[in-house]
C-alpha cells in the first residue's frame, strides 16, 4: 500500500473514453426472488453516476456484487477491458473498487490513521510499526480529498460524516479507481450534507469513477452527471441528469405517477388542546420549552442538527428524564414521568431510530404491531391470538403493508413497510397525541407519500401530531403550524401561512 500513487487529476495520464468499470447482464437470484435481472451499469472515470431506485429495486444487491459480498449468477464485470473475477471483498478492493456502505466499516476504538492502514501497517526497523509514517501518510491522504481529520483521533468519537471521509481516505490508500457511496447522507443532517458532496466532487476531479446510490431526488440533481434507475431488479433507464425532471425520475423509480407528495384530506385542526408542555428542561439539552398542540393538528418542529428535536420528542413522551417543567395530555399531568404513564394517558413516540428503538427485528410482523395493545387481546393474561392476528391483518390490508405473511420477521420488510407497522402499533393502541420523529428517514419516495398520507389521516382522526423533521419540504407540506428550535430552545412558532423557508432558517440559526 502506498500513498505516492498519482491519480489522473494529479497529473497521471487519463484513459479517456474507457469506462472505469463495465457491468453487463448481471443476474442474481435469491431463493424465491430474482434480485437482479440482466442489469447493465457503466461508470466513466471522473464522472459521478447516481444509482436510484426504491427499496427492493436491487441497488444494494448490485453494489454488493461489485464489492464482492455476493457472487453474481450471470453476467460480466470488466475493468478497462479486462474481465474481473471478484469472489470476495478482498478481490474487489484489490481491483480498486471501494464501496462505502451505510454501516460504517471502521473499528471505532482505533485511531483514524490505524483504520486507514488496517490492511497493512508500514513497518520500520525490526518490524515495529512506523507510527510517524502512518500519521503523516494519513494526513497526506486527507489533503488529497480536500478535507482534514486529525489522524490521531479515535474514530468512534467522530461524527458519521467524518467517519465516511475516513473510509474514502482509506479507498485512496488502496488506489481505488471506483468509489461507491451507499446513501451517504441517510444518517446526516442538512448542514452536514455539504461535506460528502465536496469530497465526492473532489474524487471525481481526481479521475475516480463515483457511483452514488441514493433515493433522494434533490441530492441526485445536485451532484450527479448521469442517473441509472433500477426497478424490481431491472434496469429502467440511464440518462444524463439534464434530461430528467423530478417527475420523470419519480416515474422511472416507481413506475407510476404520484399525484401529490403531500395529499391533504383532513379538515381544519380543532381548538381543543391535546398536549400542553410548559417550561420543559432536561439536564443535557432542552431549556424552558413551552408549547401546545391541538387535537387534529400537525405541529411541525424544525431545527438543525443538535437543535434538540429528538431530545424533545423523547422527553415529551416520558422516555428520557426531565429536570423541570410539566407535560399534560388532555389536561392530565404526565406524572410519574415515564412511558408507562405516557402511553396510558395517550401519548406515544414513533421513533427516528427504528432499528434500535422501534423494531423487534427477529420477531414476526404481527407481534411487532400488537406490542402496545396486547392487553386488549388478552383474557386473564392469555392472548387470544386469532383475534390479535385478525386485528393486525386489518391494518396490513388498510395500510397496504407489503409482507409475505404476518409471521414474517419484520427485519425483512422494507423501511416504508416497517414504518407502517410501527404506526399501526400506535393506532391499535389508540392515542391522543403521537410524536413522530423523522417519519420518513430511510424510506423511499413511493412509500414516503404513503407515510405522509397516513400522518394526514392521523390528524384527520383527531390526534395531535407532533412532527420532528429536518426536511423542509416535509415540514411545509404537512404542518399546520411550524415550531423552530435552536440549541435546545424554542425560537419561533408560526402558522403555516406565515412560514417561509427563510423565516424558518433564520429562527433555526437563532
Amino acid at each position: 500500500m502506498s500513498v505516492d500513487f498519482l491519480y489522473p487529476g494529479e497529473g497521471a495520464a487519463v484513459d479517456t473514453g474507457v469506462p472505469a468499470i463495465e457491468m453487463r447482464g448481471i443476474d442474481k437470484r435469491f431463493p424465491g426472488v430474482v434480485a437482479l435481472d440482466n442489469v447493465d451499469l457503466t461508470l466513466e472515470p471522473g464522472k459521478i453516476h447516481a444509482l436510484m431506485g426504491e427499496n427492493g429495486a436491487g441497488k444494494s444487491t448490485l453494489i454488493k456484487i461489485m464489492a464482492g459480498v455476493y457472487g453474481k449468477d450471470a453476467g460480466t464485470i470488466r475493468m478497462r477491458g479486462r474481465e474481473l473475477d471478484i469472489r470476495s471483498p478482498r478481490d474487489s478492493l484489490k481491483e480498486g473498487i471501494k464501496v462505502v456502505f451505510q454501516e460504517i466499516a471502521l473499528i471505532s476504538e482505533f485511531t483514524v490513521a490505524e483504520n486507514i492502514f488496517l490492511e497493512g501497517y508500514p513497518t520500520g526497523k525490526g518490524g515495529s510499526i512506523d507510527w510517524k509514517k502512518i500519521r503523516a501518510d494519513s494526513a497526506a491522504l486527507f489533503n488529497r480529498i480536500g478535507f482534514n481529520v486529525d489522524p490521531a483521533a479515535r474514530t468512534g468519537s467522530l461524527p458519521v460524516s467524518q467517519q465516511q471521509m475516513v473510509e474514502i481516505a482509506r479507498a485512496l490508500a488502496h488506489e481505488a479507481r471506483v468509489v461507491v457511496m451507499d446513501e451517504p447522507t441517510s444518517s446526516l443532517t442538512p448542514n452536514e450534507i455539504s461535506l460528502p458532496f465536496t469530497v465526492i466532487r473532489r474524487l471525481a476531479a481526481l479521475g475516480i469513477a463515483v457511483l452514488y446510490v441514493s433515493h433522494k431526488l434533490d441530492e441526485v440533481f445536485e451532484i450527479a452527471d448521469t442517473v441509472t434507475v433500477l426497478r424490481d431488479g431491472r434496469h429502467v433507464s440511464t440518462r444524463p441528469i439534464g434530461e430528467h425532471t423530478n417527475d420523470t425520475l419519480i416515474q422511472d423509480m416507481i413506475g407510476r405517477r404520484i399525484e401529490s407528495l403531500f395529499p391533504r384530506k383532513r379538515g381544519a385542526p380543532g381548538s381543543k388542546v391535546a398536549l400542553s408542555v410548559q417550561g420543559l428542561s432536561t439536564a443535557k439539552k432542552l431549556k424552558d420549552v413551552s408549547f401546545e398542540a391541538n387535537a387534529g393538528e400537525v405541529l411541525g418542529f424544525f431545527g438543525l442538527m443538535g437543535a434538540g428535536r429528538t431530545e424533545l420528542a423523547k422527553a415529551v413522551v416520558g422516555f428520557d428524564p426531565i429536570i423541570s417543567g410539566t407535560i399534560s395530555v388532555d389536561g392530565r399531568h404526565l406524572m410519574p414521568h415515564d412511558t408507562h404513564t405516557g402511553v396510558r394517558l395517550g401519548i406515544g413516540l414513533l421513533t427516528e431510530d427504528r432499528k434500535s428503538e422501534g423494531l423487534m427485528g427477529e420477531l414476526p410482523v404481527y407481534q411487532n404491531a400488537s406490542l402496545a395493545s396486547l392487553g386488549a387481546f388478552a383474557r386473564m393474561g392469555f392472548i387470544d391470538k386469532a383475534r390479535e392476528r385478525k386485528a393486525v391483518q386489518d391494518y396490513v390490508d388498510r395500510f397496504r403493508i407489503k409482507t409475505p405473511s404476518l409471521f414474517q420477521q419484520i427485519k425483512n420488510l422494507s423501511g416504508g413497510n416497517q414504518q407502517k407497522v410501527l404506526i399501526s402499533r400506535w393506532l391499535m393502541r389508540g392515542l391522543k397525541v403521537i410524536v413522530v420523529d423523522e417519519p420518513t428517514r430511510g424510506i423511499d419516495v413511493g412509500a414516503k407519500s404513503e407515510i405522509f398520507a397516513l400522518i394526514d389521516r392521523l390528524a384527520g382522526e383527531g390526534l395531535a401530531v407532533v412532527m420532528m423533521t429536518s426536511e423542509m419540504p416535509e415540514l411545509l407540506g404537512l404542518a399546520d403550524r411550524v415550531a423552530v428550535m435552536c440549541e435546545g430552545r424554542l425560537t419561533a412558532i408560526m402558522s403555516r401561512d406565515e412560514a417561509t423557508q427563510e423565516k424558518i432558517l433564520n429562527a433555526a440559526i437563532g
Binding site: 427492493g56 422516555f319 428503538e357 427485528g361 407481534q367 402496545a372 393474561g381 407489503k402 425483512n412
Partner: protein
C-alpha cells in the same frame, strides 16, 4: 436484505415455529445418541435406567425453566449453582430447628427468591451487566455458605415428607420428575400463550422498543430473575432431600449445565429467541450423554468433556442451517 421484501419468503406455520429452528438438529442428535448407546449397552433401555435419567434431568430442568425465561429477556444468572447449595443448607437448618416442611420450604423460597430479587435489582436498577452482577453474587454465595456452615447440615428431623421430596414416587414416576414437569409446563404455557410471555420475548428482542410502548421492561426482567431464583429454591430442597443433607459444596458447575442446556436448546443469549421445548431437549441430550458415559463404563471425567464438544457442535450446526436459509 431489502431485496427479499417482496418475495414469498418461507412462511412459518405454528408447527414450523415449534420445530423449525435448532430443535430439529437437537432431536436428531438425541435420537442418534439413544440408538448408539442402546446398541452398545442394551441396559440403557431398561425401565430403571430411564427413570434414573429422568430423575437426573429433573433438577436441571426445574432451574432451566426459569433460566430459559431469563435468557429470553437477554439476561443470565450465573449464581444458580452457588445458590442451590446455600438453599439446601438453609432449608435443612430450618427444618432441623422447626420440624416443619412448610417452614423449611418457605425459608428456601424466601432465600432463593431473595437472591433472584437481589440479582434483578442490581441489573435493572444499578444497570450492572448481568453476567458480571451474577458472578459477583455467585462469589458472595460461595463464600457466604461457609460463613453459614463449615460442614454439611445433617438431617436431624427425620421428616418422611422431606425424604419423599427427592425419593418419593407418584405411581411409577419419581416425585422430582413430576415437580419438574409441572414447573416446565407452567413456564412453557406462560411463554407461549400469555401476554407476560410475549413481553418477555419482546424485552429480549428490543428493550427500548418495549419501554417506548409503555411496558415496564425493568419489572419484566426483575420477574424473570425472581422466577429463576424460586426455581433454584425448589431444586435446592429436592437436592438436599436426595443427599439427606445440606451440602455447601453441592451445585458446583450446576449453573454451567443449566445454561448449556438452555443454549443447546436454541435460546439465544442475545435474547428474544428460544423455547422451553428446546430447553427440554437440551436437558435430555446432556443427561443422556452423562448416563451413556456411566453405562458404557467410560472415564467419568468425560462427563464434562463430551457435553462441551456437543455444545460447540450443535451451535455450529445451527449456524450452518441458518446460513443455508439465507443464501
Amino acid at each position: 436484505m431489502s431485496e427479499l421484501t417482496q418475495s414469498s419468503a418461507p412462511r412459518r406455520s405454528v408447527g414450523g415455529q415449534l420445530l423449525g429452528s435448532s430443535q430439529l438438529v437437537l432431536g436428531i442428535i438425541l435420537a442418534v445418541l439413544c440408538i448408539a448407546i442402546s446398541l452398545a449397552a442394551p441396559q440403557f433401555y431398561s425401565e430403571a435406567n430411564i427413570i434414573a435419567i429422568l430423575r437426573q434431568c429433573a433438577l436441571v430442568l426445574i432451574v432451566a425453566s426459569g433460566m430459559t425465561m431469563l435468557i429470553i429477556t437477554a439476561e443470565v444468572d450465573l449464581s444458580v449453582g452457588a445458590s442451590l447449595a446455600f438453599v439446601g443448607c438453609i432449608g435443612m437448618a430450618v427444618l432441623n430447628s422447626t420440624h416443619s416442611l412448610a417452614l423449611g420450604m418457605l425459608a428456601a423460597f424466601a432465600f432463593a427468591g431473595g437472591v433472584g430479587l437481589f440479582n434483578g435489582l442490581v441489573v435493572t436498577r444499578l444497570k450492572v451487566n448481568s453476567l458480571i452482577a451474577t458472578i459477583g453474587t455467585m462469589m458472595m454465595l460461595q463464600g457466604g455458605v461457609y460463613l453459614f456452615t463449615r460442614e454439611a447440615v445433617q438431617n436431624h428431623h427425620r421428616l418422611i415428607s422431606f425424604t419423599d421430596l427427592g425419593a418419593g414416587y407418584i405411581g411409577a414416576i419419581p416425585l422430582p420428575v413430576v415437580i419438574a414437569v409441572v414447573i416446565f409446563a407452567i413456564a412453557a404455557v406462560t411463554l407461549r400463550f400469555t401476554t407476560l410471555g410475549r413481553y418477555l420475548y419482546a424485552v429480549g428482542a428490543n428493550e427500548r422498543a418495549v419501554r417506548l410502548s409503555g411496558v415496564r421492561s425493568e419489572r419484566l426482567k426483575l420477574f424473570a430473575f425472581v422466577v429463576t431464583g424460586l426455581c433454584v429454591g425448589v431444586a435446592g430442597m429436592i437436592l438436599s432431600s436426595l443427599m439427606n443433607a445440606g451440602q455447601p459444596t453441592a451445585g458446583r458447575g450446576f449453573e454451567l449445565t443449566v445454561i448449556a442446556a438452555v443454549i443447546l436448546g436454541g435460546t439465544s443469549l442475545l435474547g428474544g429467541r428460544g423455547s422451553l421445548f428446546g430447553t427440554l431437549l437440551g436437558v435430555l441430550v446432556l443427561k443422556v450423554i452423562d448416563n451413556g458415559i456411566i453405562i458404557l463404563g467410560w472415564n467419568q471425567d468425560l462427563q464434562m468433556v463430551v457435553p462441551g464438544v456437543v455444545i460447540i457442535l450443535a451451535t455450529y450446526l445451527d449456524i450452518i442451517r441458518n446460513r443455508a436459509n439465507v443464501r
